[in-house]
Amino acid sequence: MQRLAAIDISIVLLYLIGLLIAGYLLGKKQKTDKDYFLGGRKLKWPMVGISMVMSDIGALEIVGIAGLAYTSGFSMANYDWIGCIPAMIVAAFIFIPFYWRSGVFTIPEYLGRRYNQTVRSLVALFWGLFMIANLGIFLWTSAKTLNILVGWPIYASILATAFVIGFYTFAGGLRAVVFTDTIQYFILVLGSVIIIVLAFMKVGGISGLVSTVEEIGGPGRKDFFHLILPADTPHPLSWSAILFGLAFVLSPAYWIGNQAIVQRNLGTSSERDAKKSVLFGCFLKLSIPFLIVIPGLVGFALFPNLEKGDDVYPTMLRELLPPGLAGLVFAGFLAALMSSADSYLNSASTIWTMDIYKQYIKPNASSEHLFKVGKSLTLLFIIMAVLLAPMTDRFPGVFSLFITLLSIIQGPIFAILLLGMLWKRANGQGAVAGLIFGVTTSSTLFWIKDGIFKIEDPALYVAWWSFTTALITTIIISLLTRPKPADSLKGLVYTTKA
């Protein structure tokens, strides 16, 4: 097996050392929780836009989406197009400015003000656990790739990656995360462009790709180059699953309700900059499928007999790139991995500090004290993620696992967030009931999925139904119970002014 040459490993090591130094330098002047969690509210909008996109397209997406494109085809691009663009635009003009004006640190904090502290705690708990589990998935994905490419043992790779991410996030907080994400974006784009060009040269261009897939693809890949698949397709990406589960629920839930995404927008210096950052991220999103879905398609034409779709990106990296370039592209891959992991690490620490620690353990804690707690939690979570990482291997694909975890909680949280912002009559009792019933619905649907769904991986449909049930439950219970006083809703519902 061909592995990275000495020059490649040197490039990767140089890159990792650069990140450590950047994290240290950026963190030196930080003193308060606002500096650490929101970058002192001085972040530049282009960097925030890039950072949003990079947090979304981690290595998990590169490996997972390229892997699913390998098996399902071009329809995976929906995740970055209809599954992002409309929701991001709605977020830019309504939700992000709304959060920005309210001056909150976290989304659970907003929900606590809007409904009650039980809702805040439940959502913080769901998100906090989800983020730590995801960190484990990110670390495992990188370790597997390092194992294939460099030959490092998996556990050594997990520890090495955890050390780098943990150090610069611990030292530099959100400012370091946004700064490193920006550098990582350019490395990722460069790496992807190189790999796509080399892969197309080998397969014989677009016509070579189409003819090879037609020749070897068989009936399972008859819609390989189509964005929109029929409802009865065996793949998880039928048009109906994409439209109802992704475009209407998971995507807005992700861009409006995911702390790891929204947190950096709250760090911009003005409301207009917060909007600009989301629109810029949206603009970048248009190009992302070309960078990560196309390698999966060409990968199928070049390596049709891989055991797992997730192996396609590391295999292409290993087999196509000459020494020197392999190191650069691999650094890009590591960049993508770290950009997601650092965001989740920083956001998990923000949520647990502001919504759990400050709320239940030390309500009168000073800004400086919370800053120290946030740093300690960052350290604790990276250790927990290291311990959880090996569990990822029990699941068939990393991206499917990520979407499955997401679909359990995102639908119900989005339902109460949406009602909370747009409907004055929604109250705390309704939100708690909606949240619990929605999560119960998604868990039950996963439990009985083989009996009622016609596809193996129904995560997108589950998201739709858990959202719908949470929405209906919240409406019914709110109407049956006492409304929140109108005075307490000022500035918290879209139609009211602060």
Binding site: P86, I89, S240, L243, R272, I448, K454
Partner: protein, 85 residues
């Protein structure tokens, strides 16, 4: 327990599946484009997104209106769906 829940939900699941399955991918493309056009139309109904004077002194150009960029992005997206459907 599992079997009971499945037997209760199965008829409903089958009806839903038959409904979406009766819609062809060609009509689905139309639905996708409709979502994008609807968002663009909604953006147009919003107030003009001008910079404040202290943020951008000088003459106001239409490109300073953030809505223009949102509509441009949605337009590109719609074209992509028409081409690659």
């Amino acid at each position: 327990m599992k079997e009971i829940i499945i037997s209760l939900l199965k008829p409903f699941a089958d009806v839903c599946f038959r409904c979406v399955n009766s819609i062809s991918p060609d009509i689905a493309v139309f639905l996708y484009i409709f979502v994008l056009v609807a968002v663009a139309a909604w953006v147009l109904t919003l107030k003009q997104e001008k910079p404040k004077r202290n943020q951008k002194p000088g003459k106001f150009l239409f490109v300073h209106d953030l809505r223009v960029w949102a509509i441009l992005i949605l337009f590109v997206q719609a074209v992509i769906y028409i081409i690659f459907r």
